[in-house]
Assembly symmetry: C2
Homo-oligomer: 121 residues x 2
DNA sequence: CCGGATATTTAGAATGATTCTGATTCCATT
DNA sequence: AATGGAATCAGAATCATTCTAAATATCCGG
């Protein structure tokens, strides 16, 4: 656990939203001006593989990262593009029994219109 | 519908697996040596937006494309990396009622060990 | 506390997928 | 045959991400 990794993890832990590598880099530079982009990616990748953080793929944009909490899925608003977390506690078991096979993991992203945008129409 | 688009669609329709833009380009060049990569991407994007084909994101690799058939999800083998289609006919309705909101669409990718790799251990 | 092995960081170059650009070609219509 | 609009082409450009090689930090046994 280097100072750089600690800082990156702190940034992700304190953020209330998903951050791109660029955003993490920008925020990290405020606290540690010498930090390099490669370091940000190195640590994001390492922590992602260790399961400490999650990488989230965004269609037509840079990947986002978030501090891992409990297993959850993602919902993207078709109107404003906001990414939020949703939870379906039974889903893995459900898929597993429908498939008749053990599942290691799954990624689910739902596209819908978020409450804010729905109300605004 | 230009000759190029027709060819690209034919290539995807006749393939028994998901193809990257590069693979489509290679196969298209065999039939039409003057075709350009930009044309392949233009048409893949246009047909994807029109719902005629699907773009499938692959972790750490180029996106893949397939001719659209019925709605289905994807399963990637953690061992050999093979991508196969799976169907959960009830899933969208299920997610919708669990979420209490209308869903426009969703993407689900399951990570597991495919039957071939399972048997081989 | 010291020396050396190992891992990490840094800056910038390199990569790879995809998109953009501007000129050209195609096709349908007049 | 002329016109206009859309699609194509080749190659340059872009963007996110990874790689490289040198410098630095960290850790461990003595």
């Amino acid at each position: 656990m280097t100072r750089q990794r600690e800082l990156i993890l702190q940034i992700l832990s304190q953020s209330d939203r998903h951050l791109t590598a660029d955003e993490v880099f920008f925020l990290a530079k405020l606290k540690m001006p010498s930090i390099a982009m490669a370091t940000v990616y190195n640590n994001l990748n390492a922590m992602n593989e260790a399961g400490i953080i999650n990488r989230v793929h965004m269609d037509g944009g840079a990947d986002c990262f978030e501090r891992t909490t409990d297993k959850h899925d993602h919902m993207i608003c078709d109107v404003c593009g906001k990414l939020t977390n949703v939870r379906f506690p039974e889903l893995q078991a459900h898929l597993q029994s429908a498939l008749g096979r053990e599942i290691d993991s799954y990624d689910l992203t739902i596209h819908c219109v978020c409450p804010d945008c729905r109300g605004r129409r």
